[in-house]
C-alpha cells in the first residue's frame, strides 16, 4: 500500500497545552476481495489527514453524517483500531510507539462509552461486577465494592443496583451503568460515541445533564461523537464537522453554529429540523442533492464539491486546506461564507 500523502496540518492551538493531540491521522480499511471477482483490492478511506487537539476539561464535538469517519477517529484515538498513519499524542506520549503492555497502562486514562447500552454490558454479569471489571483488569487494589457504590451514586443510581443484572434496567439506566464503568479508572479522556442516540428524548436529557455534571465535577475531557447537532451544540465547547473522512470546519461551537463558513456546515445546520414551527416555516433551507459519495472513491479536490452549490473547477483540482476565518474558526473551502 502506498503511504497516503499528508498535508501540513493546521490546528487550533488548545489553550494551556493539549491533553490529546492528533496529527495527520489516516485510517484506511482494505476491503475483502470478493470471491470469483478479479480486479484490484479496494481501499476505504475512512479518515484522511485529520488533526485536532483536545484541551484538559474540554468537550470536542465530532459531528457528521454516516461515513464521515467520526467513529473511526474516536477508535483510532484510543488505538482500539490501528491508525494507518499519523500521530496520536496523549498526555505527551505518542500512543503508536507504545508496546501493548505500555498501552494498557495508558488506557486507564482514556475510556469509551458506546451507543448501545444493551450490547455493551455482559448480560450474565451483575452490574457491580461489570463496573468493577476495569479495576480488576488493571490490577487496582483496595475495596472494589466501596468504589462501585460511589460510582453508582455518581451516575445517579443507588448502591443496591450493584447486585442486579443489566436486563433489570431501562435504556437510560444502562447507559448510566456504562458511564460508571468508564469512570472507574478516573480517566482524563472519555470518548462518547453516540451516547444518547438510542434513548428517548425525555431520558436523553438526563444523560446529557449527567455528562455535563460529571465534567464540571471531575474535570475530564470528552470527545462527543454524534450525528445529532442539537445535542452536540448543548454539550461541546468546540466542534469539528466531518465529511468523508475530512474535517471541513472546526472551531468554537457557538461560532460554528452561529456563523458557519463551510457550505457543508451551512447545509447540515439548515437540514436539522428545529422544534419550532415558526422558525422551521420561515427559514430558507439549503437542500443538498444526492447522497454522500462512496469513501472507496472520494471525489478529487474538495470531497464535498459533488454536492456543493458553490463548486468551481478549482474545487475539483485542488484540495482546500483548513484556514482561519474571520470569526476564528478554521474551514477547508475555496469559497467560504464570511
Amino acid at each position: 500500500m502506498t503511504q497516503p500523502e499528508i498535508t501540513t496540518p493546521v490546528v487550533t492551538p488548545a489553550a494551556g497545552g493539549a491533553l490529546l493531540s492528533v496529527r495527520g491521522l489516516v485510517k484506511q480499511f482494505q476491503m475483502k476481495a470478493v470471491r470469483g471477482m478479479t480486479g484490484r483490492k479496494r481501499v476505504v478511506q475512512a479518515v484522511s489527514d485529520v488533526s485536532f487537539d483536545v484541551a484538559p476539561g474540554e468537550t470536542l464535538g465530532l459531528v457528521g453524517e454516516s461515513g464521515s469517519g467520526k467513529t473511526t477517529v474516536g477508535r483510532c484515538v484510543l488505538r482500539l483500531i490501528e491508525p494507518t498513519a499519523g500521530q496520536v499524542m496523549f498526555e505527551g506520549v505518542d500512543l503508536a510507539k507504545l508496546s501493548f503492555e505500555e498501552l494498557r497502562v495508558v488506557r486507564r486514562r482514556m475510556q469509551i462509552v458506546f451507543q448501545d447500552p444493551y450490547a455493551s454490558l455482559d448480560p450474565k454479569m451483575t452490574v457491580g461486577a461489570s463496573i468493577a471489571e476495569p479495576l480488576v483488569v488493571q490490577g487496582v487494589g483496595g475495596d472494589h465494592n466501596e468504589k462501585v457504590v460511589s460510582l453508582l451514586e455518581l451516575v445517579g443510581l443507588s448502591a443496591d443496583h450493584a447486585r442486579r443484572f443489566p436486563h433489570e434496567f431501562s435504556g437510560g439506566q444502562r447507559q448510566r451503568i456504562g458511564v460508571a464503568r468508564a469512570l472507574a479508572l478516573d480517566p482524563a479522556l472519555i470518548v462518547l460515541d453516540e451516547p444518547v442516540s438510542a434513548l428517548d428524548v425525555s431520558i436523553q436529557a438526563g444523560v446529557v445533564n449527567l455528562f455535563n455534571d460529571l465534567q464540571a465535577r471531575l474535570g475530564m475531557s470528552y470527545i462527543f461523537i454524534a450525528h445529532d447537532l442539537s445535542v452536540v451544540r448543548h454539550t461541546a465547547d468546540r466542534v469539528a464537522v466531518m465529511y468523508l473522512g475530512k474535517i471541513m470546519e472546526i472551531g468554537d461551537a457557538e461560532t460554528v453554529y452561529e456563523h458557519p463558513t463551510h457550505p457543508y456546515t451551512k447545509a447540515l445546520l439548515s437540514a436539522v429540523p428545529l422544534p419550532n414551527p415558526r422558525v422551521e416555516r420561515s427559514r430558507s433551507r439549503i437542500m443538498l442533492e444526492g447522497d454522500v459519495p462512496s469513501p472507496v472513491n472520494p471525489p478529487s479536490g474538495c470531497r464535498f464539491r459533488t454536492r456543493c452549490w458553490k463548486a468551481t473547477d478549482l474545487c475539483a483540482m485542488q484540495e482546500p486546506v483548513l484556514e482561519v476565518r474571520s470569526h476564528g474558526q478554521l474551514s477547508a473551502c475555496h469559497h467560504p461564507e464570511e
Binding site: E65, S66, S170, G172, D200, V201, S202, I203, Q204, A205, G206, V208, N209, N212, H227, L229, S230, V231, R233, H234, Y257, A267, L268, S270, A271, V272, P273, L274, P275, N276, P277, R278, V279, E280, R281, R285, M287, L288, D291, V292
Partner: protein, 323 residues
Amino acid sequence: MSESILQIRDLTVTFATPLGPLVAVRGVDLDVGAGELVAVVGESGSGKSVSFLAAMGLLPSTATVQGSVMLDGVQLVGASAKQMRSVRGRLLSMIFQDPLSALNPVHRIGAQISEMLRAHQKMSERAARARAVELLEVVGIPQPGDRAMQYPHEFSGGMRQRVVIAMAIANSPKVLIADEPTTALDVTVQAQILEVIQKVQKQFGTAVVLITHDLGVVARVCDRVNVMYAGRFVERAAVSDLFDAPTHPYTRGLLASLPQAGKERLVPIVGFPPNMLRPPSGCAFRARCADAISDCEHAVPELRAVGAAQSACIRAAELMQPR
C-alpha cells in the same frame, strides 16, 4: 377540517403475552382529513406504531383489535384477509423506517412497482412498467428509466426510501401512513425525504399520517399533532399551538427535555413510562408528573377541549393560567 377520510374510534389493541394481556393501545380516537398531514408523536412503547399496524391489519395473531377504523366508508377492523388485501396498497399504504426490508432483494425496482400497480389495476405489463418509471421520477430519482432496471442493493438508503414511497403511492391511496420514515437516514437525506412526502401530499392530495418521535420533524412539516403516551392520546393541537402553549404536562416535559440553542440546562422527565402489563390507575403519566394531584389517580382522563387544543389532563385549564 375537511371531511375526514380516516376515522378511528375507540381503537384498542391487546397482546396476549406469557405474562398476561398487554393493552398497548387503550381506546384511541383519531380523524384524518382528506389531504391532511398529521403527526402522531410519542416515545418508544407509546403505541403509535401499533395503532396503525392494527389499522393496516398487519399485527400478529397474538393481538386482538377492538374498536373501529373507517377508511373512506370501509370498516377495517374485522375485515377479511381478502378485503384487507384489496384495501392495502390501494386505499391505505404504509412505509416504514427500514426501506430495505420492504423491498425484495432479487427483483428489479421497476418490476416491484409494476407488480404493485397490477395487483390493484387492470394494466398491461408494458403500461405498468412505464408508469413505474413515471413514479420513480415523481419521487425524485434521477435517470428513472435506468434505475428501474436496478436491484435494491444498488440504491442508497435515501433512494430506497424514495422507491418505497413510489410503491406506496402507485395506486393513489387516500391515506399514506409513514412510520418513522426518516429515522434511519442522515439529516441532509431526511430533509429530502420530508420534501418528497410533502410533495406527494400536495400533488396527489394524499392524507399523510407521520409517525415520529422527532418534534423537529413535526414542526417542519405537519399541520396537526397528536401526542401519544402509554397507549392513549394525551394532547392534540395545531402544530403552532402545541409548541407555543402545550396543554399536557407530558408535552411540556418533552419540549423541556429537547436541546435547543440558548437553553442552559435540559429538564428531563423523571422516571420511566409505565409497565403496560400493569398500567397505573387514572392518568398513566401521573407518576412522572410534577403537577399530579390525588384526583389524577381516580379516572383515566379523556381528551377535553382546552382553548383550541384538546388535552387529557384534568388540570390542563388551571395549569395553563399564568402562575
